[in-house]
Symmetry: C2
Subunit: 132 residues, 2 copies
Amino acid sequence: MKVLVTGHGGFALGMAAASRMIVGDQELIDWLPFEEGTNLSDYQAQIAARVERHGEEGLLILTDFKGGTPFNVSMLLSQGHPQVAVLAGTNLAMILEAIDQAPTASSVTDLADHLVVIGRQGLLKGVLQARN
Amino acid sequence: MKVLVTGHGGFALGMAAASRMIVGDQELIDWLPFEEGTNLSDYQAQIAARVERHGEEGLLILTDFKGGTPFNVSMLLSQGHPQVAVLAGTNLAMILEAIDQAPTASSVTDLADHLVVIGRQGLLKGVLQARN
């Protein structure tokens, strides 16, 4: 199984640098920026190539937000590939969990569902509590 | 009200570049990296200065993940400042919503609660659906 992180501007490379600082380099993850000025058909071809390459073994695509070009392109190109899943709203907790879980996950769909739960659980307001 | 985005490595500047590509430059948001090799007490002083400066008018701190240094430092320094709120698990949907809502939000607490909902709603698995 392969994991692809993609989003606008510096999203993917920023997430790459953050996760590298925490858990070191990860061969597992492919970081693909959709930079300003990128030709849309070039970007589509880059996603399509990854779907073709990993569509059978499994490809989990983590995108920045629902409705953006990285999400929309990934959704479109994942059609007909049941072993490709696309998530939106990616946060760093999900990426760290993907790095930890992807090597042993049973399927892309299971990992995707799990990451939605982990991502939402880790998305919270900090509350200071006194201990007894 | 001021919004501060901070996290490990390139998290903050990556999010800055991504949101700039989508909605342009934003004076409202202050992007503070916690880079590898940063002296912890320097970083603490940077957060403390922002809490002092904006603690009365309101400061919302968006951090990369619960339990990391940016979250922990921000939580510690927000003690005793009811108009400072700290979120973990920040995704790009939350930052875009903060840019949209912060100028008119009634309080930091209300905006923080709202962003948790928006962030979780935007964190999802894409599903292709046929239309009738």
